[in-house]
Amino acid sequence: MVNLTINGTTHAVDADPDMPLLWAIRDLLNLTGTKYGCGIAACGACTVHLDGQPVRSCQTPVSEASGKAVTTIEGVGGQVAEAVQAAWIKLDVPQCGYCQSGQIMSAIGLLAENRRPTDADIDAAMSGNLCRCATYQRIRGAVKEAAKTLGA
């Protein structure tokens, strides 16, 4: 048994210590907003926050997440998250939408640390998140839009 604190609730899950947090969240806790895209930390679809920092849950064993605060797309809240999600909706960023939970988790991570990201900052923070629909232009726009809301 491993104790996982997800979105403020602690669950005892029956998982091997090496099970990636991704599959524990999705298959054992039934929170499916976090997606699987590659399993090797190359696509960002599985991004969650660990103590507020974006991490790839496919490469984070549950043993490492235990005792830390895990936040998934279902559990995000607060000023930054609201600004980011509102901007995503306003700019109609998603196409298929599959990558977008991960994109949003990375964007929240960026804006929590840096309220005035430059294009280069956005590229650096978001280049680990693939979007096969290539919604990148709108992602960039939505990050800036959210930054504007937060600065206002």
Partner: protein, 736 residues
């Protein structure tokens, strides 16, 4: 995806009259369902799909349902894989219904070919592809909306005892000057009993409020921005098991034996079964299945397997391209014109295998219910075919199969697969388990990349002749590559030895050239191939537009002016080209350090021109800006058109710069996004999209943004480096 030529399968089937229709309405769960049966569609003689036609297991299949709560649920004939088909069809219904946009919902429909058959393909099979959703459904979904509106008005008219003509509908509210008002949900009971209108008139385009509205919020942005959207990977059923597959290590290898003793000892592994498509490791969850898979040992018979490398295949293709092929188009006398030309140019272009690599790896869920119904959840891009295939695997009849059409995390053609691969696997595994549990088959990224179905490798050898005045007098294009339709239900697309999807964009070259020949050599090998976003035009447009640039230079002409001279018979090509040139400021030099290239291509009856602006960074091109002009007839959803052009440009750009699937000894070398490189945010150019105002019938936009970007960038790179990019991806070429 499915080619735009499918009507050619069934000569005359395009004659399905849009005027003749019967309307069927039925109350479903207290809701009003309105459906049309397109008379004539049933008569379409599409021989290849005959076994799948006319399946009508769901008598309530229809275009929309209005719920007692007043929601209008549009049942989409076309899969939603990111391209916005649900949004588009909801727009059409809402427009004619005068619904409020906030009351609109959409889901995926299936099981009634007469209602949902793809009319661009002749109507005899339901499917999504070839950028046809709007073109196929522009009339029927508007008619459905208009019919429902008429029925709601009739119901209110008898309830209020006022003439129908005095009732108006606006933003989802029926009202009468007397002050009476009702929402749609208030009158559906009575509306369902209203005699079905036999004739409805559609709005004059000048009265459209939603069609053409650039500010209409996308119907599913909220779900997709909050993690609430559900895909097949998210399907959970009581007692469901998860399976991962072990596919043959080489294409064409078959299973000899396997040992699962150790795998079955892995915690969470439930069973290991063999299916016609490989071994399945079945477990309580994905991680257990993946761990179990590691512990399986298997022996394969590779006697019949494809064992060549892509380098060997490419060498044989180059050789074939030096010889004549089957003639796909022949005008004038190309050999004579070439030998009489003042200047002859030659170039050979090479295109790799490409994976679709949609972000949601392939998956499907299957179960048998207690009453013997086989249920299949998945990205059902060709539902009729999948229903029939699932029935076959389950050894039952199609009427015993129920599909659940899920939204998909992309597809780019991959979910429109004639052999229904992952659906066969899910049903096979559930069956092998004796139907004791629902089963989700989930491919890993590695499976998705290695198990095949690629954009075929192609080689194009071109020659062009210029006369002494620099006029283009001869053009010969020899194309070598696999057919994606041979041995599939779509084999009817091969005519006189020519698979039209291999030569589209090349045989249909729009330029006025007096002596012109396009030849095709269709190769056969063991690598499974498929349509990949924009199909033939992914390579033909590159070869044509990059080579034409070489020709323009040899003729000493400006590439835009040269094209325009040759496009006098093709006003829509010329229109987008002029628009893109104007918006990009083509008549002025590019900014310092920037280099420009242009390309124009039609695919699926949509016309797109793009001008790419690149800079060079450390010997590598960086695409800074793309100006895109698109003519897709009536612009139903202008912002979706922009989104699809942006996405098509990013998708195509990643492919031409970096993506390839290679084989060594027949084994696929790439397995994940580390080796199969795709576009990332730092490489995304700034894209400006300009939509041509048009009253032509609407055509699709899911694919046509892809073809021009490759050649536009290649031409820009040439402007920067004097190096012609003829081997894709660019990452393979020296110096870049």
């Amino acid at each position: 995806m499915l080619a735009g030529h499918l009507p050619k399968l069934a000569p005359g089937s395009g004659a399905v009259s849009r005027r003749r229709f019967l309307i069927g309405a039925a109350a479903v769960g207290g809701g009003l369902a309105v459906g049309f049966r397109v008379a004539g569609a049933a008569d379409s003689p599409v021989q290849a799909q005959a076994p799948f036609a006319h399946v009508e297991m769901n008598p309530f299949s229809a275009y929309l349902t209005i719920t007692p709560e007043g929601l209008v649920v549009v049942h989409s004939a076309h899969l939603e894989m990111g391209q916005g088909s649900y949004h588009g069809l909801a727009t059409l219904v809402a427009e004619e219904l005068d619904a409020d946009w906030s009351q609109m919902r959409a889901d995926g429909a299936w099981g009634n070919t007469q209602a949902y058959g793809n009319l661009v393909w002749g109507g005899a099979i339901q499917g999504t592809g070839g950028s046809t959703a709007i073109a196929s459904s522009f009339d029927r979904y508007r008619q459905a909306g208009a019919a429902a509106r008429a029925m709601l008005i009739a119901a209110a008219s008898s309830a209020w005892k006022v003439p129908k003509a005095e009732i108006t509908v606006e933003n989802g509210v029926l009202s009468h000057p007397s002050g009476r008002r009702a929402g749609f949900g208030d009158v559906i009971g009575a509306a369902a009993a209203v005699p079905i209108p036999t004739d409805v008139s559609l709005k004059d385009p000048k009265d459209w409020k939603l069609i053409g509205n650039p500010n209409l919020p996308r119907i599913d942005s909220r779900e997709k921005s909050t993690g609430r959207e559900r895909f097949t990977i998210d399907v959970k059923l009581p007692g469901m098991l998860t399976a991962v597959m072990i596919h043959p290590p080489l294409f064409g290898a078959t299973l000899k034996s396997f040992d699962a003793t150790q795998a079955k000892a892995v915690k969470g592994v439930v069973d290991v079964v063999s299916t016609p498509r490989g071994i399945a490791v079945v477990a309580e969850n994905m991680w257990a299945a993946m761990k179990g898979r590691e512990a399986v040992t298997a022996e394969w018979d590779d006697t019949k397997a494809e064992k060549r490398s892509t380098a060997e295949l490419a060498a044989s293709y180059r050789d074939l391209a030096s010889r004549p092929g089957t003639v796909a188009r022949d005008e004038g006398n190309v050999e004579a014109a070439l030998s009489g030309a003042a200047k002859v140019l030659e170039a050979t272009f090479e295109f790799p295998y490409l994976a679709h690599a949609a972000l949601e790896p392939l998956n499907a869920v299957a179960r048998r219910t207690e009453d013997g119904i086989i249920e299949v959840w998945g990205g059902h891009q060709i539902p009729d075919l999948y229903q029939a295939t699932a029935a076959q695997v389950a050894e039952t009849t199609p009427d015993k199969v129920r599909l659940h059409v899920m939204k998909t995390g992309g597809s780019f053609g991959r979910r429109a697969v004639p052999d229904a691969d992952v659906i066969v696997e899910a049903v096979s595994v559930a069956k092998a388990l004796g139907w004791r549990a629902p089963v989700k088959v989930q491919w890993t990224r590695e499976d998705d990349m290695r198990a095949g179905r690629y954009r075929p490798m192609y080689v194009h050898a071109l020659q062009a002749g210029l006369d002494a005045q620099g006029r283009l007098v001869a053009w010969r294009n020899r194309i070598v590559g696999q057919s994606i339709v041979t041995n599939t239900p779509f084999a009817g697309l091969v005519k006189n030895g020519i698979d039209v999807t291999s030569v589209e964009g090349a045989a249909t070259i729009p330029y006025a050239i007096p002596n012109l020949r396009v030849e095709l050599t269709t190769t056969e090998n063991g690598v499974p191939v498929l349509w990949w976003r924009a199909v033939g035009s992914t390579h033909t447009a590159f070869a044509v537009e990059a080579f034409l640039d070489e020709v323009a230079e040899a003729a000493g002409k400006d590439p835009v002016a040269f094209r325009l001279e040759l496009l006098s018979g093709h006003p829509r090509h010329a229109g987008v080209l002029r628009l893109a040139a104007e918006k990009a400021g083509w008549d002025r030099p590019p900014p310092e350090g920037r280099f420009r290239g242009v390309a124009v291509a039609e695919s699926f009856s949509t016309f797109v021109a793009q001008i790419a602006e690149v800079s060079m960074e450390g010997g590598r091109p960086k695409v800074e800006r793309v100006v895109c002009a698109v003519d897709c007839g009536v612009a139903v959803n202008p912002d979706m058109i922009r989104a699809q052009m942006e996405g098509g440009i990013g998708f195509g750009l990643g492919a031409i710069m970096k993506s390839q699937v290679t084989l060594d000894g027949g084994a696929v070398q790439e397995s994940n996004f580390d080796g199969y490189d795709v576009l990332r945010i730092d490489e995304m150019p700034h894209v400006e999209v300009h939509v041509v105002q048009s009253t032509e019938r609407p055509t699709g936009v899911g694919e046509p943004g892809v073809p021009p970007i490759g050649p536009a960038v290649a031409n820009a790179v040439y402007a920067a480096t004097r190096q012609r990019m003829r081997v894709l991806p660019f990452s393979r070429a020296q110096g870049v």
